[in-house]
């Protein structure tokens, strides 16, 4: 094509399209390797089993189970988070993503969605196992689902924000949890408290709702902040 002619130049595809493409790609890669799900689920199950034996003599209360669950989720999650971003570093594919006309916000949301799905799938294994080993029932399964959903979303939102710029750092495995865990502490505390309230019985539903709202506010703030910060954090230096 002669250079002087106007040409149909690449245009930014829709945000939703990019988000779905990136998440779909991450799921497809995971389906082929199954590294993340197996690693996260194995670690989470192991921790839950160890704690269930450790607390035999202490009495297996809802408060203990809630605490265990919200220790397992971020620690297992950080394994999956690190690997999900390591895959972009393996073939320098993050460079190909950044060269594309896709907006930084869409790339961020796509990675977030992938990480969210990985952690949610491992929770499908861990939560029933925890309830079984501790002989507990949630007074409102839907509210427990809501707590897990919001907690996982908040973790994936903050985690994806920090994991992307740390990809090129040699100390990323150390830096990621050091940066991530202090920020998500309110989310983890709210998750543990809310879960404990739900496992204590129907009388504590109102208390669980308060923690749920706190988690929703955390997610709102951090997803908005991350959408704004992801571009500058991944910008070329």
């Amino acid at each position: 094509m002669p250079p002087s002619e106007p040409r149909p130049s690449p245009r930014a595809p829709s945000v939703l399209g990019v988000v779905l493409q990136i998440a779909r790609k991450d799921l497809l890669v995971e389906w082929r390797s199954r590294e993340i799900l197996y690693t996260m689920s194995f670690f989470a199950v192991l921790v839950v089993v160890i704690f269930s034996f450790a607390f035999v003599g202490e009495g297996k209360s809802g408060a203990v189970a809630g605490g265990i669950l919200w220790v397992v989720i971020p620690f297992a999650g950080v394994l999956g988070l690190g690997r999900a971003f390591d895959r972009e570093r393996d073939g320098d594919t993050h460079q190909a993503l950044l060269l594309s006309p896709a907006s930084r916000a869409a790339i961020y949301l796509g990675k977030l969605l992938g990480v969210f799905i990985f952690i949610s799938l491992s929770e499908l294994v861990v939560v029933p196992l925890l309830l079984l080993l501790f002989s507990l029932r949630a007074s409102s399964p839907s509210l427990l689902g809501g707590l897990l959903l919001l907690g996982t979303l908040g973790f994936a939102a903050v985690g994806s924000l920090f994991a992307a710029p740390l990809m090129q750092s040699r100390s990323r495995d150390v830096l990621l949890p050091v940066l991530l865990f202090p920020i998500i502490t309110p989310l983890v505390v709210a998750g543990a408290k809310g879960t404990a309230a739900l496992l204590a019985g129907p009388g504590e539903l109102a208390g669980a709702m308060v923690w749920l709202k706190l988690m929703a506010a955390f997610d709102l703030v951090f997803v908005a902040l991350s959408l704004w910060a992801f571009g500058p954090l991944t910008r070329a230096e």
Binding site: E5, S9, P13, V29, G91, D92, T93, A96, P101
Partner: protein, 248 residues
């Protein structure tokens, strides 16, 4: 070209010139580029040479917008690198040391993924990917995971990835490394075609046999500075080597 999901309302005029003015890049206290000024033109294939540590890869990173100069100006036509990063995205093709492909996905899946990321709708993406797989001779291997492919085959897919969105600027970093004769000839054909199609093509390479007769512009970097420039089309390998040695 295949139809896009969001067809542009006002089509941007392609840039026909790439101008570098006193481009510097400093890592810590070490200057990787120490004031490079140079012009690259559409339709003129440029060969960038220099010894190790001359700043070639740093310059390619800046031209690809994956890095920013510490000072100086890079103008893509009228677009300034510093202010128009978003507008430039999607208009630059990069064939780097790494293939920029997902190892667990097949060639077809990789190309389809990037086609969709560049705004191709589903059916045109399929058509464009099929055409590029045929063009780089990868139809038979299209559904094998990239990690099962040889270096030469991976490089063919990487070339298709770089050219798929029809970029205006094509950057290649040592593209002939590890390729067999057939793959080298394929790459030579594609480089010539890209240049004749009016793209700005810049190749970093020390394989002068493979580059023989291709470049119309030879630029030599040494210690972060441009030490020589020759605009002579069709120079054979021996003449390229002679000019390179004279520059150093």
């Amino acid at each position: 070209m295949a139809q896009r999901v969001n067809p542009p309302t006002t089509e941007p005029v392609p840039f026909t010139e790439l101008r570098l003015r006193e481009v510097r890049k400093v890592f810590g206290r070490r200057p990787a580029l120490a004031g490079v000024s140079c012009d690259f033109r559409a339709g003129e294939l440029a060969l960038l040479m220099g010894p190790n540590g001359a700043g070639k890869s740093t310059l390619l990173a800046i031209l690809s917008t994956l890095s920013r100069p510490s000072s100086g100006q890079v103008l893509f036509g009228e677009l300034d690198h510093a202010r128009a990063e978003a507008e430039l995205r999607g208009r630059i093709g990069l064939l780097a040391h790494a293939p920029l492909l997902y190892r667990q996905l097949s060639s077809r899946e990789n190309l389809l993924f990037f086609a969709r990321l560049y705004g191709f709708a589903a059916a045109p993406a399929e058509a464009a990917v099929g055409a590029w797989l045929a063009r780089v001779g990868m139809v038979a291997e299209a559904d094998k995971p990239v990690q099962a492919l040889s270096r030469g085959m991976t490089q063919r897919v990487a070339l298709a990835r770089a050219l798929l969105p029809d970029p205006e600027l094509l950057l290649l970093d040592e593209p002939f490394t590890g390729l067999d004769r057939e793959a080298i000839e394929l790459l030579q054909v594609e480089l010539r075609a890209a240049s004749e199609a009016g793209k700005i093509v810049i190749v970093v390479s020390h394989d002068l046999e493979a580059m023989s007769g291709l470049p119309g512009h030879l630029a030599v970097l040494r210690r972060g500075k441009l030490v020589a420039e020759h605009r002579e089309p069709g120079l054979p390998a021996a003449a390229l080597l002679e000019r390179y040695r004279a520059a150093l």
